[in-house]
């Protein structure tokens, strides 16, 4: 025992002092707490569907019901074009990443406030809290993905080489969601107005994203504008990679870059605000 203490002794010297306005993000510290990220993610998953009858089925029902409603209203009644794909699979493929993103940013946005009892009582890198709530959403995403496979078999639409791009696209979506989630969660700690802003934001954001409509209906010279929405290019590419339609590389490039910028912005804002969380939450 004493030996162990001596060893840890040398390795852990912590200096606590007031920090400057902008500081570097502590990646090493986050790595040290990776296990906590895992446990909190597992907790969020376990707690999510506790005491529900349908349990994990909700992960499927949410996008599935949205698909049914969108198909009836936008596909059949409004006759929104769908790049010559059957509307249900067209919209469902986009709903998967969209719901991951929108649920992700709303859950992450409220996560810090919901965990105020932890923040005011124990230290750990705060970023773990919004990150864990996103992590829990990944499982829902995977569950809902299984329905997509069934739909592909039904419609006989199969991915081509584009599917190789899928992991990268998912990573970019996670990065964008984390970036936005961090900003919203940090803002929510100081200004509870964001509790009310987030549902609106998500609603408007859906219409600014080619989920229910194809990116192709946006005029060519306005395309760059809609792609400033990171979800626009990413979700279009997500759909293309799975349903074997041409990938719009320009769109993807702009949206991808915006995602990375958002992530960097998010992490710096979060790091700057994080040290005040315990005092103001």
């Amino acid at each position: 025992m004493p030996f162990k203490i001596m060893r840890e002794f040398a390795s852990h010297e912590i200096i606590i002092e007031p920090k400057r306005a902008w500081i570097a993000f502590q990646w090493k510290e986050l790595w040290r707490y990776r296990e906590l990220l895992r446990f909190l993610t597992v907790r969020d998953i376990k707690v999510r569907y506790k005491q529900t009858v349908l349990g994990g089925l909700w992960a499927i029902l949410q996008p599935f019901m949205s698909m049914v409603v969108f198909t009836i209203f936008f596909g059949m009644l409004a006759k929104i074009p769908s790049d010559n794909l059957p509307y249900p699979i067209f919209v469902y493929t986009a709903l998967l990443p969209w719901q991951f993103f929108s649920n992700g940013i709303s859950n992450a946005g409220n996560s810090l406030v919901a965990s105020s009892h932890l923040i005011s009582k124990v230290y750990f890198p705060r970023i773990i809290i919004p990150a864990a709530s996103l992590g829990a959403g990944l499982l829902d995403f995977l569950i809902a993905f299984s329905i997509l496979i069934v739909m592909m078999l039904y419609y006989g639409i199969f991915p081509g080489m584009g599917i190789l791009l899928l992991p990268f696209l998912m990573l970019m979506i996670v990065i964008a969601a984390l970036g936005v989630g961090m900003i919203l969660s940090a803002l929510n700690v100081a200004y509870r107005d964001f509790r009310y802003v987030i549902p609106f934001l998500v609603q408007f954001w859906l219409f600014a994203t080619p989920v229910i409509y194809p990116a192709s209906i946006v005029p060519e010279n306005w395309r760059w504008l809609i792609n400033l929405n990171p979800m626009a290019g990413l979700i279009s590419a997500f759909r293309s990679s799975l349903l074997n339609t041409p990938i719009l590389w320009n769109d993807l490039l702009i949206s991808g870059a915006v995602s990375i910028v958002l992530f960097i912005l998010g992490i710096s804002y979060f790091t700057r605000m994080e040290r005040r969380f315990a005092d103001i939450i």
Binding site: K50, Y123, Y191
Partner: protein, 427 residues
């Protein structure tokens, strides 16, 4: 030099006070804030943390100029009244909040127990919570797996380990939460008052466990109001008052200093209504207090064996009065050990409604304490929320009133409590 595991230099922390509305800024301000951030950064580089354009009375130094060093293996008790800065100090050391000025160097892994059941989730089972809470407190999963059986046994909840903790009794919940905390073995352990709850047997068990931990070369900082607890486990005591260290010495010395100087001079001399050493919602508050004898005459000293009346005048926050009021008294020895408690919950006399002003009398027939000085605490509760809680309202001077009518002089070391009983003989 390397023996010093905690070194605090000129530590200070400032808090903004004022109404909640002042603090909670709006969305509009948030937007301008974000836009202005780059400019503020430049400005901040040239100014002190508290800039000159703010009203200094809106700020309070929760800690100021705090300097101390702790050597490896020391058990330090931190005492002081509510708001003295104890918890702020612990929170800075635990890295929960950042100091405004000064610096701390910590050598070793730091674990903080600032509440019971940190990270517990009511929907999860006992087992899941052990892992979750343990990880949050800073243990890794191997460590938890190794100690798992020990934790479960310590809490005594083997049969319920796969039951969600929301179905636990509050006692079981507490014991499990403690058990996890008690098995946290970081080199530096920061403990805030967690031992103030739980049943007596379990408390003793926890104190014993803590003593054990420090025997293994761990350093402990322990904040508590319970003088008996800090007195029994700490070897060094630090008294904080108004954010500053008043005394840093042996534990017993620190306790004596705290009781005599800080307490009496600062609080007991003030009218009750002006006292700030209270906590609670303030829905109902104590305005004055007196002791009366059987005939209602005011007295200063309580003769044992006689009827005494403790009279509490109160007022409620507004004209509406207060509902479901419970109140009680806590009598403790000067060392902090509880002698007895007498509350309306015990006697089943909760007051369903109290008007906006009035007085409540607690009558004790044949007052049963041995002569000496006791600390009287009092609490008011509305429903389940503490409305006004004063841990040390005043000191009771109990004098010999010949309890048994036998003229026998009873001393404190013979008995704590005088029981109303007699002896008889039969052939």
């Amino acid at each position: 030099m390397n023996n010093i595991v905690i070194k605090a230099e000129n530590l200070g922390k400032i808090y903004r006070i004022g109404s909640a509305e002042d603090r909670e800024k709006t969305f509009r301000e948030a937007i301008t804030d974000m836009a202005a951030a780059p400019f503020r950064r430049i400005r901040n580089a040239f100014s002190s943390p508290v800039s000159n354009d703010v009203n200094p009375s809106e700020f309070i130094w929760a800690l100021k100029d705090v300097n101390f060093e702790v050597k490896r293996g020391e058990i330090v008790g931190i005492i002081g009244r509510n708001g003295a800065g104890k918890s702020t100090l612990l929170k800075i050391l635990a890295r929960i909040t950042e100091p405004t000025e000064g610096k701390v160097i910590l050598r070793g892994r730091v674990g903080s127990l600032l509440e019971v059941g940190t990270g517990f989730h009511s929907e999860l089972t006992g087992e899941e919570n052990i892992y979750l809470s343990g990880t949050i407190l800073g243990m890794n999963s191997n460590e938890i797996s190794r100690k798992f059986d020990e934790i479960v046994a310590f809490a005594g909840i083997e049969r319920f380990i796969h039951t969600p903790v929301k179905y636990y009794s509050s006692g079981m919940y507490m014991r499990l939460a403690f058990a996890v905390a008690a098995h946290l073995e970081t080199e530096i352990l920061l403990i805030d008052e967690v031992l103030a709850v739980g049943d007596a047997v379990f408390q003793t068990k926890c104190l014993a466990k803590m003593k054990n931990i420090t025997g293994e070369g761990h350093t402990v900082l322990f904040v508590s109001h319970n003088m008996a607890a800090v007195g029994s486990i700490c070897d060094r005591g630090v008294v904080l008052d108004a954010g500053r260290i008043l005394i840093d010495s042996g534990m017993q010395n620190a306790i004596n200093y705290y009781e005599k100087d800080v307490f009496q001079n600062k609080y007991l001399s003030k009218p009750i209504i002006e006292r700030t050493d209270r906590s609670g919602t303030g829905d109902i508050i104590l305005t004055s207090f007196r002791i009366e004898d059987e005939e209602g005459r005011k007295i200063d000293r309580l003769p044992n064996g006689h009827t005494v009346k403790l009279v509490f005048d109160y007022r409620t926050r507004d004209e509406k009065g207060a509902k479901n009021v419970d109140l009680g008294i806590l009598v403790e020895r000067e060392s902090g050990e509880r002698v007895f408690q007498l509350g309306t919950r015990f006697t089943g006399q909760q007051f369903p409604y109290l008007g906006s002003k009035g007085s409540l009398t607690c009558t004790i027939k044949r007052f049963p304490l041995v002569p000496g000085r006791y600390r009287l605490g009092t609490y008011f509760q509305c429903g389940s929320a503490a409305a006004d809680y004063i841990t040390a309202l005043t000191y009771l001077n109990v004098v010999d009133g010949d309890f048994y009518g036998s003229n026998y002089q009873i001393y404190e070391n013979e008995t704590r409590i005088l029981i109303d009983g007699t002896w008889a003989h039969q052939e």
